[in-house]
Symmetry: D2
Subunit: 371 residues, 4 copies
């Protein structure tokens, strides 16, 4: 049966001078096979992924794997524990505003340079091993910088050291008030239908600092460079996704079972679970390319009722939200309706009724299509 | 028809040196009658009351009143505008932690002294007028203190100057994640059934700083002193309530209609709305005395699923909540169930899944009875 | 020589489900003697006391004591680690605004009841032992409450269990921007001159929730009750102080040496350090009774230059502070001077230039006298 | 004499639905001349610049100018008013962590395109006018985006609309605990000595989102493109600087006079003040290129004494700071010294003694030279 190795990784030290660490659950199968890396809660208030990992662990106690599955719940012990009022201020470092999911490493030039070192005979397996080794040296160099590095970046690089070993990387997040959705690199389009997730965003090969990008961008670029050099398409069979498992600040053990099964479905398809025959659900999956995943900002401040719920299809000019203005309760300017600028699917909305102007009210699929 | 007078009351100045003010909507009826005072959002994240006042205003444009109704939405312009992450840090002054609803004025000794000044012949009406006048002088003295007073207390006293003129005072709040409930002074028990609110807490004559108490405690004590002196029960016909209109951080215009109608029902019964014949709904109303309204604190930290929903009846030893511990996901200590210590009604729960030990997880009715 | 016992006390659990603990350094002397309890940083941003305890530990390695000295640095692992921007939000629980230094236990009725149990023959030593035992049972009962207790109160009671054993209790704090000062119960007036601290506040027998009060109020009341019953003054020789070691958010190892020596001076006088002959410095010590320790609140918001520095003597109508108003930079209302309402010593001021109206600008000694 | 025009610019709306605005003080001289733009407090806790503008206004009442000087104090009414504890959380939007000084507009491609539109005959003056017009159209397009834009970016673009008209742009900031320093684009090196500021950072033509860069980068690139095309150097005579006027959270009217005079010295040299003959002070000015302006991050968490003060010259391996670890007060690991990695000038340090690992402890000049 699988073996479970459990350890803790120190990723920071708090103001009491004490280590802050992250639990690692590593399942190793009897047979060789791909490596899987799944982390949750890099944003401290996005906690459903921890439940998903809990449910995965229950399965993996009895379900044989090929290769290795590394599960890293609650991977940001700082972000999880910063309260501001009753809620968790988990999206960014409270000291300087740094988003906890923007400090992973990616260097275009390094990959170009590495590609130079590949001769035409080198096997895919050898390239993968060498690339991982070099990449992890890069990470170690940054972690060992004489002048030090920032807290968020340090955390990110420590996690990336683990994640870059994996063939399949899943980063579990939540939206504010949100329906389930998934970010999928365009080259792995086919995999979008292996999850039971109804909304899909296809990502280009552009790095903005997140873990999924920090995983798929290097392999994507390397694939392009080697394919172009060898004049045949090569495939490193590495994929990375960000899964948004509903809303932040809530957990559900029942939903976690469903979410875990969705991940097992993907892993089954990828050959990680030899004894499993779980198939993806037959369901509607709507998709957009990233440039059509739009943010609607408020033009005004006030108190908002979110009329369109996450997952709702909204036609152009239908009411998305209604804003109350307390200074005009007796006039017809008491309320203002915010209308859909075009046909859209509401994916998520802001979690508080009170908004300043310039608030991200909704994120929406526009120009979406069925998978 | 009613006349509407609209003005703004300056209650603070911000760090830009600018006035922060509160909108006042004063409806004055053609005929004399009682005065009503309704405020909302003294806690900045508790915003549904603003919608309720909006809906009341729509009614009062056409519904004749006797006397006067003063509506004060969004009565805390500081608390409404303090964001900490996406949520509103509205319960306390972010500078010093002072709860925005604990700085109203009450002084036992002053009331005893005032009671001395009443002779046996003085009419109830005359006593009420003189008491209000003296009380407002007390408030003004505190507001004019040479050394100044704190921000929250200043705001409270400015509002209390308006509220103490009223016969019926309603302070509109929300719980964290909460069912609708109302705080009612024991002497006004009968009024509990005039609102369409399913959960009622009966309050003793004890002052802890809130507006409802700052209204009913003085009149209650004065009633007792005068009644005891005259050896007949006197009645000043002043009542005050805190209404908790569901959960913070959300508004609903539809629910606001229902909430507004509930208030109109009360005002109808009190003779403020001569043309109205709205009657309270025939519904179950569960009540407790304040000492049986219990707070359940967590003994441990972790990530919580709130299994009992606000309004749920829970039997002793049934599961209220389940806590996940990320360091033990592979053992039977992965989850811990928090059980009901006795039969109870869950009224509200904490709004975040992430809790430290010592968090107010639930507030519950125990030893409750049907009204 | 003294023995040092070092352990950790669990006082909370964080949202990761991990224990948060407090270090305890217990020095036990060869000879019996009084017990001393010193804690620091119950307010997380007030950190100089940790340095003072560090310096005390260096001394106590070589300086023999009678009895026992228990040192508890960084006694609030939650408050120390809550950042909001670059600063530490250490004065209150960020979830609910509860001041970390207001949840200690005191119950008038319990002490009256205990006093009844004392017969005229019982020795002071026996009364002390029994009182401590009973008191700690009271604390344990509160800590074991079925419905649980709040985080701050739990922390306070765990510390109070340790502190109530001691004869001399020192709680080390800092002001915002502050000169050194000390709170001394009136019955221990003589001890004020045993510290090298230039500003002294004499406290009445009134409990507001702080550790010093939670220590001296019970003994003070018990002293009064027993003295009155026996018709001779009894003395339990218990004293408690809050020491404000300058400003929050900064530490100085050099100042810490001075502060530590000041404490050793007190302990020498109390017979805890048989080999020591350190005498208090010959210095000016100004004192007030608590009712003359005044807070000056701003009437306006704006940007402030603090002209009077902590420790400065200011005459009535001299300028304490100058406020800039950005909307009037071209007029003579650009700046407003805040004047001293009477002769005073500025003890501390607000630590930020940006203030809303109703901010605690200065705390001042008025009607002060030389010790 | 100069005319003063005073108005307010609406830049946001708060959750009460009320406009938040910025004061504009526009001095227009009798004679034509360059335009000057000076703003302060885009970071809400960095308030000394408001005093500097106040002092400049006092001068400009009597000192004739050529052209126009636009002064915009307190230019971020949101950031100024977000308190988190006693301090101002002014560096980033509390909702999402966005730095208030990173949302200005710059688009390389737009400038290349504009450069194409310049023929060889067009005068510098005409190019400047057309470029400003086009640039402001670009800004307006972004401000009018159907889906809206974020709060910080909206604020930035509204200010940039004003600033881009100017020839000389000064953005007044403060460091955390900091000596005075200035950021100067390399092409304007000569101007570094026109201010009385002892520390100078020379900036390359790289845009990272700040106002100074958003001003000098477009003109710099345009200069390069036109010069290269015309094969003679052209000069648009536009300069932009970020001035760091000491430490955040404090103001000094006296220092503000000095700072204002330093700015007048620069404006005198630039021909804005015909009647003035103020000359820069003869003083030491140390400079670095941006790549040698280094940030030292802590490797550990703890409580820190900042031994090197802002402005101090520190030799390699000298002690910069000492960190206390509360769990080891009795061992030789009680304190750890942080040493200078090389010879350096300490420019600023973190403003709190309590730090997590990965905190920006110091920013330092290395490889510095005398101007």
């Amino acid at each position: 049966m699988n073996k479970l190795f459990k350890e803790h990784l120190v990723v920071a030290q708090n103001a009491s001078g004490r280590n802050m660490n992250v639990p690692l659950y590593r399942f190793v199968g009897v047979k060789p096979g791909p490596k899987v890396y799944i982390q949750s809660s890099i944003h401290g208030a996005e906690v459903q992924g921890n439940v998903v990992i809990y449910q995965l662990i229950q399965w993996l106690k009895t379900l044989p794997i090929c290769g290795e599955v590394l599960l890293v719940p609650n991977c940001n012990p700082v972000g999880t524990n910063i309260k501001a009022g009753e809620y968790t201020l988990g999206r960014f470092d409270p000291v300087n505003g740094t988003n906890w999911n923007r400090g992973y490493y990616y260097d275009d030039a390094f990959i170009h340079e590495f590609a130079q070192s590949i001769d035409d005979e080198e096997s895919i397996q050898s390239i993968k091993s060498r690339f991982r080794l070099k990449m992890k040296q890069q990470l170690q160099t940054r972690l060992s910088e004489t002048w030090g590095i920032g807290l968020a970046q340090h955390l990110n690089l420590k996690l990336q050291q683990l994640a870059f070993d994996a063939d399949y990387v899943l980063d579990l997040h939540n939206g504010p008030v949100s329906t389930r959705h998934i970010y999928v690199p365009e080259y792995a389009k086919v995999s979008a239908s292996l999850f039971n997730i109804p909304h899909v965003i296809f990502m280009p090969n552009v790095f903005s600092g997140a873990l999924d990008e920090a995983t798929f961008c290097p392999w994507w670029l390397l694939t392009d460079l080697v394919s172009s050099k060898r004049k045949v398409p090569v495939d490193f069979e590495v994929e990375a996704f960000t899964l948004e498992m509903g809303s932040q600040e809530v957990i559900s053990f029942k939903d976690g079972e469903y979410d875990a099964k969705s991940i097992l479905t993907y892993l089954t398809a990828k050959g990680c679970l030899p004894g499993s025959s779980i198939l993806p659900e037959n369901m509607s999956r709507k998709a957009v390319t990233l440039n059509h995943y739009k943010t609607l900002f408020t033009q005004q401040g006030g108190i908002v009722e979110y009329i369109a719920k996450p997952g709702d299809l909204v036609k152009k000019d239908q009411v998305l939200a209604r804003v109350l203005n307390v200074d005009n309760l007796d006039t017809d300017r008491a309320t203002t309706d915010i209308l859909a600028p075009c046909d859209l699917v509401a994916i998520l909305h802001f979690p508080s009724a009170s908004v300043l102007s310039g608030t991200q009210l909704y994120k929406c699929f526009t120009e979406y299509f069925e998978l």
